[in-house]
């Protein structure tokens, strides 16, 4: 395959023409896929709509991408009646190509049935259930709900400052969607209610699910150039409902993070501290000497799942892996990721005093992080997890 000709005109920006069938069954999105978007859009490889592959490294990279692409395609487009979730998990751990992400996430969360016969009917039912709940809650009016003004007020001031650096979230039509999702979730989970940070957690779902209906290139800013104001309402309704249900699944696994006194977060912070004492005793001692408490810097890491520390594209890649870890991905594997994240800056931190440590950790230098950096972080976390998970309780001296 030294030369591949591509028709780049097929990559026009906008809504996919077959969006109606994607709404009914997201698998319809996959039949027409031929080449990985990641390859088509890799500018290094495109020369006048033709790419010449000279170097062996490039060849290998392309072959690996193609092979992954084909494996995903094979699993998801299986002719069996059931999609093999175990294989999907194994494959997804190292990241999901963007064209398969939406359906894979929904499958991994057990939102979308793996059984082919049940997929379309389940989706239809879940979306109707969501829409009915919303209509009921908002009493078919646009004046906003009246039931819980405190919650509604908090949501309505937080939504406009959700991912404010991303243009997509500045459109009123998107903000209204997020408000409804968050408010319905809060009403249905009174023990926790809406807690700041949950707004952040809804956005990877929203963005990934919406992207599924768009002809996007692999440029990560592409969604930023997209104006959702005139998008077909059926698409937005589907994206909104799917986001609600998947967010609900995610939050079910970390509900202790958001109830009174946030015991889930306290536990995670203590486990992180305990881990650092085992992984990097010098760093742990230095932090202690400087009077740094783990709660001071890692509370937010747990509360927002590192969404304030990493770009949303990095977070989306991270969730590919978290979602394969089953119910514990966001509550347990995440702690190992946080440990790997902290230890990454060990050398710098050990040279710093209290205030510099605090300020550094509030704004760690991750602006230029790529998917590869996230991949390394996840692999490190995996190593720590295999070494320390279920380690004997007597090793726990600091939690």
């Amino acid at each position: 395959m030294s030369q591949i000709y591509l028709n780049l005109n097929s990559l026009q920006f906008g809504i996919k023409s077959n969006y109606k069938s994607i709404i009914i069954d997201p698998r319809s999105n996959l039949y027409n896929l031929t080449y990985p978007l990641s390859l088509i859009n890799n500018s290094k490889l495109i020369i006048n709509k033709t790419f010449n592959l000279n170097s062996i490294a490039q060849n290998e990279q392309i072959n690996a991408s193609l092979s992954r692409f084909n494996k995903f395609k094979k699993i998801l487009l299986t002719s069996n009646s059931i999609i093999d979730l175990n294989n999907l998990k194994k494959l997804s751990w190292n990241g999901i190509p963007m064209e398969f992400r939406s359906i894979s996430w929904q499958l991994l969360l057990n939102y979308l049935p793996s059984n082919n016969d049940r997929r379309a009917s389940t989706l239809k039912r879940k979306r109707k259930e969501y829409l009915d709940s919303i209509n009921q809650l908002f009493n078919n009016s646009n004046d906003g709900p009246i039931k819980d003004q405190t919650t509604w007020h908090q949501i309505s001031i937080d939504v406009p400052r959700t991912n404010p650096h991303l243009k997509l979230y500045s459109y009123p039509i998107i903000q209204k969607s997020l408000e409804r999702i968050l408010y319905l979730w809060a009403v249905r989970h009174p023990a926790s209610g809406y807690v700041q940070g949950i707004n952040d957690l809804s956005t990877p779902f929203f963005q990934v699910f919406l992207s599924n209906y768009l002809n996007l290139d692999n440029n990560k800013n592409s969604l930023d150039n997209f104006d959702p104001s005139n998008v077909n309402q059926d698409i937005l309704n589907a994206v909104e409902a799917d986001t609600f249900w998947c967010l609900t699944k995610l939050l079910d696994s970390i509900q202790d993070n958001y109830i009174h006194a946030q015991p889930g977060i306290i536990r995670q912070v203590n486990e992180l501290k305990d881990l650092i004492y085992r992984i990097d005793i010098e760093l742990a001692n230095h932090l202690e000497k400087e009077g740094i408490e783990f709660l001071q810097f890692s509370f937010r890491w747990m509360n927002c799942l590192l969404m304030r520390e990493l770009s949303i594209d990095n977070i989306i890649r991270m969730w590919d892996t978290y979602l394969t870890e089953g119910i514990n991905g966001f509550s347990e594997f995440h702690i190992y990721v946080c440990a790997a994240f902290l230890v990454k800056w060990s050398d710098e931190l050990k040279q710093m005093e209290f205030q510099d440590i605090m300020i550094f950790l509030q704004n760690p230098p991750t602006t230029n992080w790529t998917e590869e950096d996230v991949g390394v972080l996840l692999s490190e976390a995996y190593v720590w997890q295999s070494l320390y998970k279920n380690a004997s309780a007597h090793l726990k001296s600091h939690s």
Partner: protein
């Protein structure tokens, strides 16, 4: 008063920034510590930290400021930061009556969790929104006087009175600390990184000895 941002200082004062969600606490802090204002700032989660050193009466005073999340759910986490604080800015939004009505609740929080002698300043933020004003200046000023609070209206957006409100608070803490005639070496000789160091409640014997020294 001249300021700079260097690391040397003679006093370290821990300050907490509290008030309802969305009143502009984080922007007051970033305006004071970095002279920055961000219209698109995200909500604060838990507690965030910043410092600035200013000069008061020829002494270098470092303010170590803990900016807290305004939402009720975070109260259990944030109230732990009140301990050891010698000053508090209770912030409301002059265009939002509810945020002013919450002030007594925030004062109660301080009473429950903070040091009894903590110096408190009431700050009406967003003074640039005068056309949307919902809280009359006099009303807030009187409330502050009745409750022995310092008071300013400020705007993080146009920077009006931001430095003033922090300086006023720090000066008041400084005066109080000086009046109590603490042994300043206790604070200045400690490792600066150890966090909050000034204790506003004199211990029994310190109180006696300071009275004894007060003869001049």
């Amino acid at each position: 008063m001249t300021d700079d941002y260097s690391y040397d200082y003679e006093y370290l004062f821990k300050i907490v920034l509290i008030g309802d969600s969305g009143v502009g606490k984080s922007n007051l802090l970033s305006r004071f510590t970095r002279n920055e204002f961000n219209l698109e700032s995200r909500s604060t989660i838990g507690v965030e930290f910043a410092t600035r050193t200013v000069e008061i009466d020829g002494k270098r005073v470092k303010a170590q400021i803990w900016d807290t999340a305004g939402q009720e759910r975070y109260r259990a986490i944030t109230s732990a930061y009140y301990r050891g604080a010698v000053g508090a800015l209770v912030v409301y939004d002059i265009s939002k009556a509810e945020s002013y009505e919450s002030v007594s609740r925030w004062l109660k929080e301080l009473k429950e969790h903070a040091d009894a002698n903590i110096v408190i300043e009431l700050v009406g933020n967003k003074s640039d929104l005068d056309h949307l004003r919902a809280v009359p200046t006099d009303e807030a000023k009187n409330f502050a006087a009745e409750n022995q609070l310092l008071f300013t209206e400020a705007s993080a957006l146009n920077a009006e009175n931001v430095d003033l409100s922090f300086h006023q608070l720090l000066k008041s803490i400084y005066d109080m600390v000086s009046k109590h005639q603490f042994d300043m070496n206790d604070y200045s000789s400690q490792a600066p990184s150890k966090g909050p160091t000034v204790d506003l409640t004199p211990k029994q014997n310190e109180e006696k000895s300071s009275k004894g020294n007060n003869c001049c």
